[in-house]
C-alpha cells in the first residue's frame, strides 16, 4: 500500500515529461513547417507534397497532442476542456476570418474612402440613394424572384416527371451536369450563345442563329433593356436547377408509396395527387432549396461580372460592392453595401439553417 502513492507521482512525472516533449515537438513541427514553406523556393513539386503532408499531418498531430493534454485533466475539468480542444481551433479561425472582418467592415462603413474620417451614416445614405445602387437593388429583386422561382419550379417539375421515366438516371445526370461548371465558366459559354457581331455580319451566336432561322433579325441580346436581366437569370437557372432537382427528387422518393396508392384508389387525379400529397409531403425540402437559391441570387456576382460587367442596366449589388472597393478604392461605400447585403441575407440564412436542422441534415 505504501509504495503506490510513491510510484504514482513518479509515473505521472514521466507522463508529464513525455507530454511536454510531445507538445514541444508539435510546436516545432508546426512552426518549422511554416518557416520551410515560406523560405523554400527550389522545387514546386516538393513544396506541394510537403504542404499536403505537413498540412494534414500537423492537423492530426495538433489534435492528438491537445487531446492527450486534455486527458490528463481531472474528469470534471475534462468535460468542458475536451469540446474546447476540438472545436477551439475551428472557432478561432472562424472568429479570425469571418467574425473580425465582419466587425471591421461594419466599422469601416461609417468612415470615408480613406478610412480615417468618420462620416456617420453617409455611406448608407449613398447605398440607398445612388442611382446605380437603386438599379442594382431592382435587378437583385428580379434575380431573387424569377431566378428562385425558375430554379425551384423547373427542378420540381423535372424531379416529378423523371420519377416516372425509365431513363430517370440519364435525364437527371443531364440536368445535373451544369452544376459542375463554375459561374465564370458558364458565363463564357453563354457569352457565345448570346453573341452579336453587328448588322450585316455573319453571327456566331446560337440564340441569333435560332432567331434568324425562324425569320427574325439578330439582336444584341445583352443590350436589350430589362430582357438582358432575364437572359442572365436563365444562366443561373441552367446552373442551379440540377441542385433543386436532386434534393426534391430524393424527397419525392421518400413519400410512402401507400399514400399515393390510397389516393389513387380513392379516385384522386394525378394533379390532385401532385398538389395535395406530393407538395405537402416535400414542403420542407422545397423551403430549404428555395432559401438556398434565394441566398445564391442575393449574393450573385460572377455571371453579371463576366457577361456585362454591370453595364446596360444589369448591375447587381454584389458587383457594385466589388467595383466600389477594388476599382474606385472607396472602402466606405463598399463596406456599407456589404453590410446591407449581409443584413438582407442573414434572416434567410437563419431560416435556411433552421430548416436544415429540422430535417436533421446535420445529425
Amino acid at each position: 500500500m505504501s509504495s503506490f502513492p510513491m510510484a504514482a507521482p513518479e509515473k505521472a512525472g514521466i507522463k508529464y515529461l513525455k507530454l511536454s516533449l510531445l507538445f514541444v515537438a508539435a510546436v516545432v513541427v508546426l512552426a518549422g513547417g511554416f518557416v520551410f514553406l515560406k523560405e523554400y523556393k527550389d522545387s514546386k513539386l516538393l513544396l506541394i507534397l510537403f504542404a499536403v503532408v505537413w498540412g494534414v499531418g500537423s492537423t492530426i498531430l495538433l489534435y492528438t497532442v491537445l487531446n492527450a493534454v486534455a486527458e490528463t485533466f481531472p474528469r470534471k475539468v475534462r468535460t468542458w476542456v475536451l469540446p474546447l480542444v476540438f472545436a477551439g481551433p475551428a472557432l478561432v479561425l472562424l472568429v479570425w476570418f469571418l467574425v473580425l472582418p465582419t466587425v471591421r467592415t461594419l466599422g469601416l462603413s461609417f468612415f470615408d474612402e480613406t478610412s480615417t474620417k468618420f462620416v456617420g451614416l453617409d455611406n448608407y445614405f449613398y447605398a440607398f440613394t445612388n442611382p446605380t445602387m437603386l438599379e442594382s437593388f431592382g435587378n437583385n429583386l428580379l434575380w431573387l424572384f424569377f431566378g428562385t422561382a425558375g430554379t425551384v419550379v423547373l427542378g420540381l417539375l423535372i424531379a416529378v416527371l423523371a420519377d416516372r421515366s425509365p431513363w430517370e438516371a440519364g435525364f437527371k445526370a443531364l440536368i445535373f451536369l451544369p452544376m459542375a461548371i463554375s459561374f465564370v465558366g458558364a458565363g463564357v459559354i453563354w457569352k457565345f450563345i448570346y453573341a452579336y457581331k453587328g448588322e450585316g455580319i455573319a453571327d456566331i451566336g446560337l440564340l441569333n442563329a435560332v432567331v434568324v432561322a425562324f425569320g427574325g433579325t439578330s439582336q444584341a441580346w445583352l443590350q436589350l433593356p430589362i430582357w438582358n436581366n432575364f437572359l442572365l437569370i436563365v444562366i443561373m437557372i441552367w446552373l442551379q436547377t440540377g441542385y433543386a432537382m436532386v434534393i426534391l427528387s430524393s424527397a419525392i422518393k421518400n413519400i410512402p408509396e401507400e399514400h399515393l396508392e390510397a389516393a389513387r384508389i380513392d379516385g384522386a387525379s394525378e394533379f390532385q395527387i401532385f398538389f395535395r400529397i406530393i407538395i405537402p409531403s416535400i414542403l420542407g425540402s422545397i423551403i430549404t432549396v428555395t432559401t438556398t437559391i434565394v441566398i445564391f441570387s442575393l449574393k450573385l456576382f460572377d455571371i453579371v461580372r463576366v457577361m456585362t460587367g454591370g453595364n446596360f442596366g444589369t448591375n447587381v449589388v454584389a458587383n457594385q460592392f466589388y467595383v466600389e472597393q477594388f476599382t474606385f478604392g472607396s472602402t466606405g461605400h463598399a463596406s456599407a453595401i456589404a453590410i446591407v447585403l449581409l443584413v438582407a441575407i442573414v434572416p434567410v440564412l437563419i431560416y435556411n439553417l433552421r430548416q436544415f436542422a429540422e430535417r436533421k441534415a446535420f445529425a
Binding site: G198, E199, A220, G309, G310, N311, F328, S330
Partner: protein
Amino acid sequence: MKKILFAVAAIATMTLFTTALAADPLADAFAGKLKGKTVTMSGPFTDNDAVKFNDSVKDFTAKTGITIEYEGSKEFEASISIRVDGGNAPDIVDFPQPGLLAGFVKKGKVLDLNKMLDVTKLKANYIQSWLDMGTMPGPDGKSIMAGLWARANVKGIVWYNKKEFDKAGYKVPTTWAELTKLQDQIKKDGDAPWAIGIESGAATGWSATDWTEQLMLRTTSLQNYDKWVAGTLKFNSPEVRKAIQTWSDIWFTNGNVYGGRKSIPTTSFGDAPKVMFETPPKAWLHDQGSFITSFFPNGLTPGVDYDFFNLPAINATYGAPLEVGGDIYAMFNDRPEVRAAMQYFGTAASLKSWVQAGGALAPQKDVDVSWYTNYVDQKLGTMLRDAKALRFDASDLMPGAVGAGSFWRGMTSYVSGSMTLDQAVKDIDASWPGAR
C-alpha cells in the same frame, strides 16, 4: 539665442544651396566627383521593363560612378504610399501617372525641382505641355515643379491598312474636312469607314473615353481640358458635351461603323481592328493607342501593311494635341548624386538604350530619332518630339469612381442607347466624389 543661431544656420544653408544651384549637378557627376554614391529608386517596372530600365542607366553609372538601385513592384501604388508616409521614401520615385504624385505634392513630401536642378536646361529640353503637366500645387497652394517626364507613349492615333488604302486611292486626311470627305468616299465605295469596338469585359467603355479626350483636345482649350480633369468643368458643360457629340455623330451615323452602332459595345477592343486586314478590308480606319499593333494579325510589316496618322484638327485655334501616357519622376531626398541623376533623366540620353530596345518613347527634345529601331516607334517618337501640345489621358487622372467607373459606364450606356447623352453626362457628374 538658439532660435537666432538656427535661423543663421538656415540662411547659411540656403545660400549654400543657391550657390550650388549655379553649378550643373550633372557636370560634377560626370567629372567623377560623386563616385561611389548610390541613388535609390522605386517604380512599377518589373520583369522585362525592369531589365530595360537597368540597361538604360548603365551608361550613367559607367560615366559617373553613381549606382542607381532600382526596386520595382507590382504593388507599387500601395507600397509607395506606405514608404513615403513612413518617412522612408526612396530618392527618386517613378510614377506611371501623375495623379498619385499630385497627392504627395499636396502633402508637401516632394522636392521642388526649380530649386534642385538646372531648370533652364530642363525647360529648353521639353515642350511647354510636359512642363505644365509636371507642375502641381503644393500644400500652400503654390505650384512647384514636382517631376520631370522620363518616358512616354502615345494614346490615340488613327491606324489604317496602308497597302489597300493606297490601292483604293484614298489619301491620309490632314484636316477634319478631308476626314469627313474620306468617310463619305469610303461609304460611297460600299464599305464602313470605321472599325470600332469598346468591349473590354468589366472595363467596357474605356476606348470611348479615349475618343472623348482626343476630341476635347481638338474642340476646346488645354485650360478647359485641365479643368475637366480637375472636376471643375462638368461633363454636363457645352465643351464636354460637344466633344462627346462630335465622336458620337461619327459612331451613330448609319454606315459609318462596321457592324453598326449596336455592335460597338459587344465588339472587343482587340478584335475591332482585325477587319481592316481582311481581304478585301471590311473597314478602313481605327483609332487606338500604339499598343494595338500587338492585336493585329501576325506577319504584317509596319509602314508597308499598315500605317497611322494623328486625328486631324477640327479648329485651327486648338490644333491636334496628342493624347499621351507616360512616367513622371519625382525627387524625395536631396543629395548631390540625386540631383545629378534627376538632371540626367531630363535628357534623352537616359532613355537611349530603352528607346533602342523598343517599348519607350522619349519626351525630351534632344532625342535622336535614329535611335528608334522600328518604324512605329520612330514615327511616334517624331510626332512626340514635334508636337506643339499634348495632354495626359484624362480618365487616368480622374478619381477612380469616375475615370474607371462612371465615365466608362456612362459612355457605354450612351453608345448602347440605354441612356441619352443628357442622362449620361449628368450621371457621371453625380458620381464625382463629393458631388451630391
